[in-house]
């Protein structure tokens, strides 16, 4: 007998849709965050005056305040202050991209700084330009250094996407909420939702570990 509170096969489609929204938001904000964060780090590498301290200050702000507060600021604050209407999805993309960018900036800066001065000198001395040094000598080594922390960050940022459900984006968590209210079986619903996040996070971590192994292949000792 079918009751209002029982699970239906349609619920799996709902869950899949929610997961899709979460993943899409995660992917888009990660890409934008990577782009902005590394651009900031490159600006810092060139020691651009004025811009560099400005970026550092802005990244500090984003890094040291709760994402939820940032989300409210964008979703409720922006329309109130600048009369710009932002949809929940827009607010989510702006907030999560900015937040991810700030953390990627920190990782990229420390990765670049982990490359010894001797590496930069030995390339500069052969006449490579600052850009060529960055592209051929610094970036590949910094990337190998950054993949570990970056993977950790992305696993965390995936979980952070669940916050956007509070402003009405129908992501995996929001679907969980809907199913929970209808079925009144919180233990089952949230276990399934949690499990889906877990599997996705695990896949990200796995991908990161693989990439790291490949980027660090050159340090592997293969014997003389």
């Amino acid at each position: 007998m079918m009751r209002y509170t029982s699970f239906t096969s349609y619920d799996f489609i709902l869950l899949a849709q929610g997961l899709g929204v979460s993943l899409a938001l995660f992917a888009v904000t990660t890409l934008i965050g990577l782009l902005i964060g590394t651009t900031w780090a490159i600006v810092r590498f060139y020691r651009v005056p004025v811009l560099t301290p400005l970026i550092t200050f802005f990244a500090e702000l984003l890094k040291n305040s709760p994402v939820l507060v940032q989300l409210f600021l964008v979703f409720f604050g922006l329309p109130a202050l600048a009369k710009i209407n932002v949809t929940p999805v827009e607010a989510a993309v702006i907030t999560l991209s900015g937040n991810t960018a700030a953390f990627i900036y920190v990782i990229a800066v420390s990765a670049i700084e982990s490359i010894g001065r001797d590496q930069i000198e030995s390339a500069r001395v052969f006449g490579l330009t600052r850009w060529q040094v960055l592209r051929h000598v610094v970036a590949p080594q910094a990337m190998a250094f950054a993949v570990g922390p970056l993977t950790g960050l992305l696993v965390n940022q995936l979980q952070v996407t669940s916050l956007i459900s509070v402003i009405g984006v129908v992501d995996l968590t929001k679907i969980g909420n809907i199913l929970n209210l209808r079925t009144l079986k919180p233990f089952i619903v949230w276990t399934i939702v949690g499990g889906l996040y877990y599997v996705t996070a695990k896949l990200i971590a796995l991908g990161g570990a693989r990439l790291e192994k490949r980027l660090r292949a050159h340090t592997a000792w293969k014997g003389l």
Binding site: A123, V125, F126, G127, L128, H136, H218, L224
Partner: protein, 254 residues
Amino acid sequence: MLTLLGKVCDMISARGVHKSFGSATVLDGIDLDVSVGEVVSILGSSGSGKSTLIRCMNGLERLDGGRITIDDFDVSNPKQLAEARKRSATVFQLFNLYPHMTAVENITLAPIQVLKIPRAQAEAEARALLDSVGLGARSDAYPAQLSGGQRQRVGICRALAMKPRYLLLDEITSALDPEMTAEVLNILAQLARTGTTMVFVTHEVEFARTISSRIVFLDKGRLVVDLPTNDFFASGGGMANPRIAQFLAKMRKD
């Protein structure tokens, strides 16, 4: 007349070079010329300013006074520095190879990026260079897979691949054990025979004696002596200077 003028330019020329780090004066008015075809060894105890002098020549340190030109290109002028750097190549004490690149990639990076040599040609040249230093079989190894002596030989190939007029060698055997030192010095002897111009900062006094045309002795940032090799080691020449005699005696003891 033109050829004469041309000849005048064919040298590294340092005039009144001053360099200090904070309150410590490291180079205190150095005058030194190195002409094409010469092998000039720079001796001196640690802290005498030898390495700093090389680092001023290749533009890694900014001069606080004086002037260094390579074939008339002023290393203190950012635009001329690029040209000066094309004419000289440095081998470092700690190799400074790029760890994420194979031996061949280490050697071809600058020729491809700076000299715009086609990749295939640059690679062929790199392999030939590695062959000539006995590393043909290790061409595709990463630095982590090479011994210290092998790494330094790659370092030398990397410098030679730029076809420099002047080879700047900054204590290139200081981080190597005697056996590996011998590997590297053999290559230098070979290069000296083929007429490569070298500025050789070193602690290997006996080896410097065999390959150098001139010996320069630095002490506390000043150039104490600049003599043809035979005169330097003659009792009435450099040895007459107590500071040098003391230095040589200490080196021979070690």
